[in-house]
Symmetry: C2
Subunit: 99 residues, 2 copies
DNA sequence: ACATTATTTCTATAGAACTAGAAATAACGA
DNA sequence: TCGTTATTTCTAGTTCTATAGAAATAATGT
C-alpha cells in the first residue's frame, strides 16, 4: 500500500458514521450485512448511508455483492490488514514501543 | 482508546499533508523535528503547516516542546500504538487473516 | 404489466476544512 | 531596547463534505 491509498483509507475511517458502518461489517464476519440491515441498525437515512458505503467501497474497504433484491456489504479484511501493515511499518517506530 | 478518539486520529492522518508531516516525524525518531525544518522539507506555507500540526497535537498524535526559539515536534508513538491496537482489535477479524 | 421492496442517484443546502497572506506573538542576542 | 528568527493567530476565500428528501433504478413475485 502506498501513502495515497493509506490516506484515502484513513480518511474513509476517520468519520464516525463510516467507522460505525465498517465496525458493524467487521463484527458481522465474512457474510457481511445487507444495506437495509445497516440502515435499521444505525438509524440513518438510506441516501446518507448509501453515500458513505460508496465511499468505503471506493477506497477498497468494503465490497458488495447482490443477492437478489438485497445488496450484501462485506468488510474487506485484506485491505484493512494492508492498512494496519502500512501504519505499523511506515508510521510507527521500534523506539517508541510500537509493534 | 474509544471509537471517538480513533475516528479523530484517523481523520487526522487521513489527509495527505498531515500524514506526510506525521511520517516525517516518525522517521526522525524521538528527537523529532522543529516546525521550520518540517516547513523546508515539505515546502508548505507556515500558516498552513501550523494549522495541520495543531490538528495532530489536538488529537494526541504529536507533542511539542520548545527549545529556545525553536519548537520541536515529536510523534507520539504511544498514541499511534493505541490507534493501531484499536484497529486491530475492533476493526479486524481472525477470519480475514488480520493480525 | 403491476405492485412491492431494496437501494441508488439527483439535487440542494449548510457547515466544515484547506489554504495562505498579513499581522501578531515569542525568544533571544547585541 | 531593538532587530532578527521562529511560529502562531487572524482573516478571508475557495473548495470539499455531510446530510437528507425526492425521484429513479433494480429485482422479484403475482
Amino acid at each position: 500500500m502506498n501513502i495515497g491509498d493509506a490516506a484515502g483509507c484513513l480518511e474513509s475511517l476517520g468519520n464516525d458514521t463510516r467507522l460505525s458502518i465498517f465496525r458493524a461489517l467487521v463484527r458481522s464476519g465474512p457474510d457481511g450485512l445487507p444495506v437495509g440491515r445497516l440502515q435499521s441498525r444505525l438509524k440513518i437515512p438510506g441516501s446518507t448511508l448509501s453515500h458513505h458505503i460508496a465511499h468505503l467501497v471506493n477506497h477498497g474497504l468494503v465490497s458488495q455483492n447482490r443477492e437478489g433484491r438485497v445488496l450484501k456489504c462485506v468488510a474487506n479484511y485484506r485491505r484493512m490488514n494492508d492498512l494496519v501493515g502500512y501504519l505499523t511499518k511506515e508510521c510507527c517506530s521500534d523506539v517508541g514501543g510500537c509493534p
